[in-house]
Each structure stands twice: as C-alpha cells, then as structure tokens.
Amino acid sequence: MAKPVLVVGGGIAGIQAAVDLSEQGIKTYLVEKTPSIGGRMAQLDKTFPTLDCAACILTPKMVSASKNENIELLTYSEVQEVKGSTGDFHVKVLKKPRYVEIEKCLGCGECIVKCPVSVPSEFNLGMGKRKAIYWPFPQAVPLVSTIDTEHCLYFTKGVCKVCQKFCPTGAINFEQKPEEVELDVASIIVATGFQLQDPRKIPEYGYGTHANVYTSLEFERLVSSTGPTTGEIVRTSDKKHPNSIAFIQCVCSRDVRMNPNCSAFCCTASVKQAILAKEHLPGVDCTVFYMDLRAFGKGYQEFYDRARTEFAIRFVRGRPARIEEVPGTKNLTLTYEDTSEGRLKKTEVDMAVLAVGVKVNPIEPFTNVQLDEDGYIKLPNSYLDPVSTGVNGIFAAGVVAGAKDIPDSVTQASAAAMRASVLAVREKA
C-alpha cells in the first residue's frame, strides 16, 4: 500500500494530478480553499483553439475526482502548516465550516431558493448575484451549499434561519466548528494557480471608473451561457449590445511597473473571445490591440489565421496609451499608435476588454519553497526536472510554476503526479 499524496489546489492542474495518482491506486488528498474544485477553467466559456466548451471537458474530470475512491476531496479547506521531509510530511489542514453537513446535503438547492440575502457573486466577478447560502456555480463539486457568514442574517444579526427550516435532510448546522486534520503524506504537489492582476494599476485604462471596461475574465463570464447574462454580451451602462469591442493585450504583463513577464495564454484567449463575440453578435466590430500576438501552441496560429480571415477580426499592432470615457453614451475612446502606419489615432468603441496578466496566488504555508521575484515557484533544475521545487518531495504544477495554458498545465500536473507517485510507492503507508 503506497503512502498518500497531498495535492494543494483544485484547479485543472490539481484535479489532473489527483486523478493520475488515484489511477495508480495511490490515495490522494485534494485540498481546495474555495467551496468547489474547478478553478479558473470553470469560469471559462469555451477553450481555444478547439472551442470546446470548458465545462464540457472539465466537469467530467471534476466528477471523476469526486467519485474516485482514492481521492479524498477537502474543499473549503486550507493548508495551515507543513512539517517533515520527503516521504514523511505532516500537514495540518483547516476545514473551514460551511455550516452545512456534506454527508446530508443533497444538492437540492431549496436553501438557496429560500435565502433572502443576495450578494455579488465571486464566480461571476461581481457581475451577478448569489445568496448568502450558495454554490459557487451550478455544477460545483461537491454540490454542497456553503454559508457565507459575512452576509448571512443569522451570523450577522441572529435572525432568519430559513434555510434550516426548508432543508429536507436537516443538513444545515449553524454550530459547525472548523476542523483541523493532520495528514501524513509521502509527497506534496502544489497547484494553487492564479488570479488576474489588478488593472487599476494602470489608471489610464479606466478600469473601475469607466463602466464599459472589463477584464478578460469578466468578459468570459458575460459570454458564458452560465454567466450573469446567460451569454448575452451587454454593456453594464445601458444593457445594450455593443457594436464594437476593443481587446487590449498585455495589460499588467510585459510591464516593468508591475509584471515584466508574459502571461502566455492571453493572446490566444483574446482571439478566442473575439471569435465568440462575433458568434454571439454577428455584426460586431472586433479589434485586438497587441504588441506581439503569441499564438504559439498547437493549432493556435491556425486559430489566429481563422480569426483574421474567416471572422474578419482586426488586429492592430499598438498598445493603447489611454482609454477615455465619452460622457453621455459611456462609449470609450482609445488613443493608440497604429505602428504599421506610424500614426497616432483615436477610435471610439462601445466596449473594451483588457487581457489582464497573471498574478500567482501566494503559497504561505510552504515556507521552505522558494519563489522567484515574480512569485512563481522556483524550479532549480527545470531542464531535467521541471516539476521539482527546491524542497525534496514537494512538486509544483500549473501556473504556480510559470504562466501557461491548459494543455501545459495538465501535462505538468501529470508529470508532477508521476514524480510524486514514485515517492508514495517507496514509502509504504
């Protein structure tokens, strides 16, 4: 019997690593700090270049992860402390209280329907709403409600408890306490992923002040059939369809002010978003403003060529200097240099989407694991061993080890699982 392995982070990389390990018969703990696994990929509508719907290819893996008898899902949980060494790690994990008992919850959703409190939804990046008792998204795994104590009327004011009244199995437990568990594992895979940088660091783009400037992830939610507008691309200011959309690349990437690195996937992601925009709104005018269009992966260049020829999406080489709001219409004026003409130009668009760069999530409890100056985990021997961190027995996979797209994250995750499995098998439980 092999010793278990811990995977931290329930995005596609973490899920893949856990599934690979479990397929080898190795017990795997998959710890995820939000209430559901799925990560960034769950927020995507379609994936490039195949235009598969992200949920279609992700949710079966999520179901696999939850059903597999070798995987123990610890969602809404966080790693507190890591002690020990390779082959023999002792990890303290805090299971945060959902105030709903996982074994009893059916995922029927009655509690959510009845809850009187609506708050902005994190999954929809504040553009839609959820209740104080909620699932992050309808295909969440596990499909168990979670109570947000900051907004729940019971926790803030001591009243309501409607969810408990209507729950058919009595799964709601307001007395639930956080639970600390200690896991003994042979090896650890860190796959904690990323957020987007804060585009307010570039005030001249007007994010946060101009109503119709969005981040790429926000636009992705707008375009998604599971999003706040069920896939209708409408402007925040007037709920109208935009006639023109500008996609601006390298926002908070390749920028010495906050992040000199390239975020790898945003070029092709924006091409995808422009294509989706054209599919949703056939008459819309889409322009992508870029520095270099990094369509480097398999099928990406062909995808980019299709965007130009088949979908008539315009590509302008020139990083806009600023985005100004037109008072009244709330349209946006972009000032940019079209480098192919060497001229300064202005153009007015209805909507602007910023392809915001990657900001790696912090990995606090892993105090021994060294990071480089941008927050990515250092891989001291990246050529021979592209998943090993400087600490024996701790591996890294996905964006936490460098910005990358889904195929590369999945490949690195499997590679990490391979290395972790050798240690797990060596140390008998």
């Binding site: 080898q24 079966p60 179901v63 390239c262 060529d305 050529y383 910005a403 050798v422």
Partner: protein
C-alpha cells in the same frame, strides 16, 4: 430479449453549442412520441454531475432499460455516459449515444429549423437501434507491467527514468547509434550554465544505470502487434560493427578513406564512415555507417582491441509491453535550396548549425567563424519554415525558435561584443518563463529588431549577403549588408514518422504531427488506448516542455500498469458458428491477422482472437452468410436505424 424495451432520451444543451441552434424543447416533445420511449429530459451540461444524476434518477424512476444520450461526439463523452448508465444499474452497453453537436448543431448552425429536424431524425434512428441493444461484457485482459518507449531523446529518456524508478520494466528503443536526441546537439542552454550534451548526459546516466531499463540503441521496432495491456514488438538491432571493446582511441577514424557530411553537426563538417556521433555519445563506442562504408578493412587493421567486426549481423528481439510511448521527436525544418539564400552560400546557416559553431566541442571549437572569419554584421531571420512566411513553410508556429535565437544572440554578444546583430522577425514570441528577459537583454545590448510582414529577401553577393526587408514599424525598405545570415528554422514532423506510423497505428493531425486524444485535456495520450505521445512528436516544444511531456506520458502508462487487468470495449467481431461455412474470406480481409480457422465438429469455422481484433468491421462486411457480426453493430440493429431514417416522420 425478454423484456419490453423502455427507452429514455436525454438531450444535452452543451451550453449554447447545441441549444444555440437546435430547439431542444421541440426535440424532447418529439422524442416522447417515439416507440418505446417512456422518458425524455434535457439539461445544460449532461456530462456534469447533475446531468449524470438526471440520467440515473430517470433510469430508477421510470424503470428504463435503454438509454439514448443526444449530445456531443461519442469520442468525447461516451465513456462518461457509459459509466453513468452502469452506476444506475444497467449494463453499460445499453447506451446509444447520438452526436447532435458536431453532426447537427455545429454543421448546420445557419439553418436552425432544418437542424432541429435532422436532430429528430438522428434521435429516431438512435431510439430504433437502442431498442435492439443487447447487454455486453467488457473483455478483460491482463496488463504487462512493462513499457516500450520509442525514441531516446529527452522526452523518451525522462519517461524511461520515471517508469523505471516507479518499478516498471522499460524497453527504450533508439534508431540512431546514440541516445540523447536533438538536445544533445545544442550549445549552452538558456537561463543555466550548462550545455545540451551535459544536461542530456546526466539524464542518460540515470537511465542506463537503472536496472529496470533495457536500452536498445541503433535499433528499430519493425513490428508491433497487440493492443493495450499486451503489445508484442519486434526490435531489430542494426549492427554497429564495433563492440564494447572499443577504447575510442580514434585510430580507425584516421585511416577511414570515406568522408561524408556529419549529420550530427548538421552538415557543417564531415565525418568518416566509422565514427563516434559526438563526444558525449552513449554508448561510448564507435559505429560504422553501413551505407557509406566501402568495407576496405583499414579500420580493422589498426584496431588494437579488435573491436571491429565487419561481418556483424543484426538480430531481432522480441519485447512484450503493456503500453507504448512514442517519443520520436522532430526534424529541423530544412529550407529548400535558395530560400533566403540557403545552399547558395556557406554564410547562410540554420540555427541548429549555429549552435554547433558556438559549442566549444563543435567543429570550430566554439569560434564563430564562417569561411575563416568572424562576421561583423549578422542578420537573424526568424520564423523560417513557420507562420506561412514562404511557399514551403508550415502554417504553424514552431514555438521554441524565438527564445532559442535570442539565447544564441546573447551568447554571441557576450563573446563578440562588436558584432552587429539584426533580428528580422514576424512576431516575437518569448512566452516562456524567463524568456521575456532574453528579449529585453538583447534590446539592451543594442541588437536591432526589425519587424516584417512580407518576408525578407537574401541576395547572395560575392563579398556579402544583401538582406532586404520592409520594416513594418518604420515603413521603410531596409538594406542590411550582412556578412552572415542565420535562419531560425522551425520544427517539422520527424522524417522517421512515416516509418513509425507504418508500425504503430497512430493518426496525424493536418500539419503532420501525431494527433493526441484531446488537444486540451489529453495532450500526451493517443486516441488508441495504451499508446502515449511524448515530446515534439505531437507538436513543436522546447526541452522543458518535452521533458514534462515525457513524465506525463509515464504517469499515464504507470496508471495502466498498476491495474491487474484492463477492460476493453467488446464491440468486436463475433462468429455465429452454426452459420459459418468456413469460406475464409474474412481471414483474408482482416488487416490485423486476428482471424484463424478451427475445427468444429465436421466443419471448419472462423475464430476471432479477441485481443487482436480491432473492431474495424471489414470481416463483417465481407462475410457472405452473415455469420460474422459485430457486437453493438449487428445487422438487425443497423437495419433498424436505416428503416427509422427512411420512414416518414411522425406527427
């Protein structure tokens, strides 16, 4: 069949992929009118947990015994729904999956009404077949916990090491006389103080010293039979004509009269017919190239340890493996003669050749010398063979060339600061970790970057090379009087790929690299179970990405080997022995040699080897008596589908 079929129809929206074109409500209503259908449900993502639960609940509540799922392609989710059906308590093969995404919604997205009608037709056909489905049992086979790995480059080496450390036997087969692949021919690697051969050398050492690995160098797999869990390979060892007694004294190299271009130096220097591929080659034994050897025997005369045997014969070896990893790499794009002056001047070279020049173990000892002198002005032309820049070029991006070229540019600037370098590029794709910094450093060192839309031209003159390019940023035509031109060539599919594919049944994508099971979520697996794809065999990759893919494919193979037995789809050919006349037409038809004859009572009948049958259906079509049927695709089932299609549509 004993019981009345009770069919449930489940229609998926697939987000907007299906629902955006097909009127799902109408389809559901129609489905309920079909014979034997007792339940019809729809859901936004049928493959998700709630979707699968919907199917399971319906099976229980409505007592279904046949399930039709109308959704995406079976190649995507048939296994998912089969599992769901099995969890609901039915035999997993009582599922019929209809593709209404690729085959209706996506192809007819502009004719919504007609697409909906077509969807109804497809479902009607599926329901007709589903009513006649029979329960089937998976075929079970044991798994050989050993791996066959084709290709001894970084991807193959890493996969070998991982599987060997994990405890599984590995047969590593390399067609060249040395392990190491392309990475061993690189100079200094980016971001580290190590050259390619050093890095590969330590990997080789770890691999060959692991007792679980048997390395077959200078060998090829000439036959591969079997399928996942049990493959039988014939490995043909090609004679080296030199054995392990070789001390690498080099005497034989001196006396050999034959000189040919050295492919390990990409043609910029020569080697003899007896040679050592490179300093760090493994095994560290000389080898004779039988195609160019004249058999003069001079080498034998001078070989003190008598290591040379010109009469050595090759031999064949059989290897059994449960899974196969293809890691056969790529070939550098070879520009046709005249493209950017390639072949017309010794001063036009490829990036691979430049790596050799800059390597201190290379033909010039690491000195950047072309025809005796160091160029003062160097032009790098990027995207050669990629991005459709020239007539012969591929459409795709070769991914690694931007960073590779910049790495070499910085090396040159370190050693020869006075050299003027112009980098003529279409797009600067330094996407990798730390690679943006290479671009910045090159700009800081005053390398000039010229962006082109129309590719540059190289005019070979007597004393220099005139590079003309229209700079798209300055809108100026520029003339660069370069002393040498380096072409940053891309990656082409390996030249040995046709040979490999004749042995291993794997498909290619449109551009000629091997096709993976799914581009996003299954990038290291071939569509066929038991075959894994690692490294640049599927698409251009740099070293780190190839090594990751090697480990990833090992993880997939390890998952296979860890199982005691595997289950294979039972849709294979079956003989109804009572009807079989023993005509043997099927035996001649079978491309996999899976059918033989056996004696049954007084007659001879056909017999199908379940392990070898690939369910292609050729024998079924050829059988004149209908004795050969394919499980899951029986004649009555197919006829029912055809009849359902041609009948007039109901109300």
């Amino acid at each position: 069949m004993s019981e009345e079929p009770k069919v449930g129809v489940f229609v998926c929206h697939c987000g907007m992929n299906i629902a955006g074109t097909i009127n799902v409500k109408e389809v559901i209503e129609y489905s309920m009118t079909l014979p034997h259908v007792v339940d019809a449900k729809e859901y936004i993502f049928m493959c998700s947990a709630p979707g699968q639960d919907l199917i399971k609940d319906s099976v229980k509540k409505s007592g279904l015994n046949r399930v039709v799922v109308a959704a995406c392609s079976p190649s995507m989710h048939e296994p998912t729904f089969r599992r769901a059906v099995e969890e609901a308590g039915l035999n997993r093969y009582l599922l019929e999956m209809v593709n209404i995404r690729e085959q209706s919604s996506w192809v007819h997205s502009d004719e919504k009404q007609k697409a909906t009608e077509k969807t109804k037709d497809l479902i009607r056909m599926a329901v007709a077949k589903a009513s006649l489905l029979e329960p089937l049992e998976d075929l079970r086979f044991g798994v050989q916990p050993a791996s066959l790995i084709l290709g001894g480059g970084v991807a193959g080496l890493r996969a070998s090491l991982d599987l060997a450390e994990r405890g599984y036997k590995v047969h590593l087969v390399e067609e060249l006389p040395t392990l190491g692949g392309r990475a061993a021919r690189l100079g200094k690697l980016a971001h580290v103080d190590m050259k390619g051969a050093e890095m590969v050398g330590s990997l080789i050492k770890a691999v060959v010293s692991n007792p679980n690995v048997t390395a077959h160098v200078n060998s090829e797999v000439t036959e591969l039979d079997g399928s996942v869990g049990y493959f039988k390979a014939n490995i043909k060892y090609k004679p080296r004509f030199v054995d392990a007694k070789c001390t690498l004294c080099g005497e034989c190299f001196r006396v050999c009269p034959v000189e040919v271009p050295n492919e390990y130096e990409f043609g910029i220097s020569k080697r003899r017919a007896i040679y050592l591929p490179f300093k760090e080659a493994y095994p560290p034994v000389a080898v004779i190239d039988s195609e160019t050897c004249t058999r003069c025997g001079e080498c034998v005369k001078v070989c003190e340890p008598h290591a040379i045997d010109l009469d050595e014969k090759g031999h064949d070896l059989e290897a059994i493996a449960g899974g196969v990893v293809l890691a056969t790499g790529f070939s550098p794009y070879e520009p046709p003669e005249g493209e950017y002056g390639y072949g017309h001047s010794k001063k036009v070279l490829t990036l691979f050749q430049l790596e050799r020049l800059l390597d201190e173990d290379g033909p010039t000892g690491g000195e950047l010398k072309l025809e005796g002198s160091t160029p003062r002005t160097l032009a790098f032309i990027m995207c050669v063979g990629s991005l459709g820049t020239t007539k012969n070029a591929h459409q795709y991006c070769s991914r690694m060339c931007c960073a590779s070229a910049l790495k070499n540019i910085l090396t040159i600037k370190d050693r020869y600061p006075e050299v003027e370098i112009y980098t003529i590029y279409k797009d600067m794709r330094t996407y990798g970790r730390g690679d943006e910094r290479l671009y910045e450093r090159a700009a800081e060192r005053l390398v000039k970057f010229i962006m082109f839309e129309a590719p540059p031209t190289v005019n070979v003159k007597s004393d220099n090379l005139e590079v003309r390019v229209h700079d798209a940023t300055l809108q100026e035509d520029l003339l660069i009087p370069a002393d040498a031109v380096v072409l940053a060539v891309g990656m082409s599919p390996s030249q040995s790929l046709p040979k490999v594919r004749s042995v291993v049944k794997v498909g290619c994508s449109a551009e000629g690299f091997l096709r993976e099971a799914h581009l996003k979520l299954r990038p290291v697996e071939a569509p066929a179970d038991g075959i894994y794809l690692a490294g640049s065999v599927t698409s251009p990759k740099n070293i780190v990405e190839s090594v990751m893919a090697g480990s990833a494919s090992a993880a997939k193979a390890a998952a296979l080997f860890g199982k005691e037995e595997i289950r294979i789809e039972p849709m294979i050919a079956q003989v109804t022995e009572e009807i079989c006349s023993g005509c043997a037409i099927c035996i001649a038809m079978c491309p996999y040699g899976a059918i033989s004859r056996k004696q049954k009572d007084e007659k001879r009948v056909a017999e199908v080897d379940k392990a070898l049958c690939k369910a292609c259906g050729a024998c079924v079509a050829a059988c004149p008596s209908g004795a050969m049927q394919q499980a899951g695709f029986k004649d009555i089932q197919m006829m029912a589908q055809i009849a359902a299609l041609t009948e007039k549509r109901g109300a």
